[in-house]
């Protein structure tokens, strides 16, 4: 029997992206640069997170013509962002043929209580998380891939590190619990019980987990890989830097050779200025995108 858009092919595409870098792009020219540098996919956007942060206002799904223009020039998968809870934006992106939808806190949420029922779609979804409970709620809703939220558009990796360490230590804690403690753990973290059982048994999430939100250098990418993520999203970090082509190539190499400090030293040389970056404590609560999502 032939099955189109099954959970297996949704999670399977994420498996194929592992060990790779997914780059935010806003034009077909940037998309070509990303592909040429070795990106395993691109995220088609109207503005990168640091510009959304700077300009303020409501951030929405990109104009379909931007997404189509990017799909027309690259052969790698093209992802696009929909607002949290905005299932019509998601339907539009699915109709356009986007390969993955990021239900993203970078955009202004359209629903302050509910996320999209992602099981309803043939196109797979990726969602952000800050902890294990949030990751498992999103997977329960049908997300086929997870990423850390980090703090987008800051060029500051500290939040992505915190979110990854939190997820990993919560996974480790579950694997040590006797079975009678798992229901209460599920209740306390607000996660579906069957997924808590899966994590306790396997010691990992049932889907691929990438790092996102603040990665700006090859060393940042390698740090996240060493902390146990499966791959890297880079948002503003490439095209808001001094030499996007060199930086993009270096981050791709760092994601493959994350465990080889000699190679990392070599590829970290002469990359020009990284994006300038923001210290997290200077952001007010309303400026923190990671608080979006329920």
């Amino acid at each position: 029997m032939t099955d189109i858009g099954s959970l297996k092919v949704k999670t399977g595409l994420a498996e194929m992206l592992k060990g790779g870098v997914i780059m935010d792009v806003t034009t077909p020219e940037q998309a070509k640069i990303a592909e040429e540098a070795g990106a395993c996919a691109v995220m088609a956007l109207e503005r990168v997170p640091s510009d959304i942060r700077a300009e303020g206002g409501v951030a929405r799904m990109a104009d379909p013509s931007i997404i189509e223009g990017i799909m027309a020039v690259v052969s790698i998968p093209v992802m696009a962002k929909a607002r949290i809870g905005h299932f019509v934006e998601a339907r539009i992106l699915e109709a356009l043929g986007a390969d993955y939808i990021d239900e993203s806190e970078v955009l202004t949420p359209a629903d302050d209580t509910y996320h999209i029922n992602k099981h309803d779609f043939k196109v797979p979804f990726v969602c952000g998380c800050r902890n294990l409970g949030e990751a498992l709620r999103r997977i329960g809703e049908g997300a086929a891939m997870i990423r850390t939220k980090g703090e987008p558009g800051t060029g500051n990796v500290v939040e992505a590190v915190r979110h990854m360490r939190t997820v990993m230590s919560e996974i480790r804690a579950l694997t040590l619990m006797p079975k009678e403690e798992l229901m209460t753990a599920a209740k306390n973290m607000g996660a579906p019980y069957d997924l808590v059982l899966y994590v306790a048994e396997h010691g990992k999430l049932p889907v691929v987990n990438f790092a996102a939100g603040g990665i700006a250098t090859p060393a940042d990418a390698a740090l996240m890989m060493q902390l146990g993520v499966d791959g890297i999203f880079v948002g503003s970090g490439i095209f808001k830097s001094g030499d996007p082509i060199a930086r993009a190539k270096a981050i791709v190499l760092a994601t493959t050779h994350y465990n080889d400090p000699k190679i990392l030293a070599q590829i970290s040389k002469d990359l020009g200025q990284p994006m300038s970056g923001i210290e997290i404590s200077t952001l007010t609560e309303s400026q923190r995108m990671q608080e979006r999502g329920w």
Binding site: K8, C40, T256
Partner: protein
């Protein structure tokens, strides 16, 4: 003798191949640089993005080293992106390739991700039981030379083929529990080193 099988680990689903090979009793080496190729009895090129893997193969001429091994009859199995990289001709693309199989491959040949599918495939070499095959933005072989054996077709499209020591599938046997496709490759390795 326990066989030592390399899995190209530059990008993509290399971990899944590793697990299947270990279940079949192989020693597995993750290949990230040319020196990792030393002493392997066979090599798997996994699914992933063929352009990304191709760029990373150009560094240190690792691709050329793999090509030499393939020409010297080392068993090599490419799945999905691996099928693309093994082919001599890639339609509408000048991307890097290993240039080993006399095949013409078309990328994303079944459509974008929303058209990705899984199905039951008849592979006569694996016996009468169908193989559950997962196709993700998959390629197929539009043409093959007479020296290439066709192992399976789906809706008239070649999705599994062998040319001597080289094996290529458009689908992902590493994503299912069925070990027969990897066992077939392991048999090729055992024959070669007998």
């Amino acid at each position: 003798m326990k066989k030592r099988v390399g899995v190209l680990a530059l990008q993509g689903a290399f971990r899944e191949h590793r697990q299947v090979l270990e279940n079949l009793g192989c020693d597995v080496v993750e290949v990230r640089k040319s020196s990792d190729l030393k002493g392997i009895h066979g090599l798997i090129i996994p699914g992933g993005e063929s352009t990304t893997i191709g760029k990373l193969l150009m560094i240190d001429e690792m691709g050329e080293r793999i090509k030499d091994l393939g020409m010297k009859d080392l068993p090599i199995f490419g799945t999905c992106a691996g099928m693309i990289l093994l082919s001599k001709t890639i339609i509408d693309s000048d991307q890097y390739r290993l240039n080993l199989m006399d095949t013409v491959v078309e990328r994303n040949a079944f459509g974008r991700q929303v058209a990705s599918f899984e199905t039951d495939l008849l592979v006569p070499a694996m016996g009468p039981h169908l193989v559950r095959a997962v196709f993700i933005r998959a390629p197929y072989l539009r043409e093959v030379a007479p020296n290439v054996g066709i192992l399976s077709e789906f809706e008239g499209k070649i999705v599994f083929a062998r040319q001597g020591n080289l094996l290529a599938s458009a689908f992902h046997p590493e994503l299912t529990q069925d070990l027969r496709v990897h066992q077939y490759f392991l048999d090729m390795i055992n024959e070669h080193w007998a």
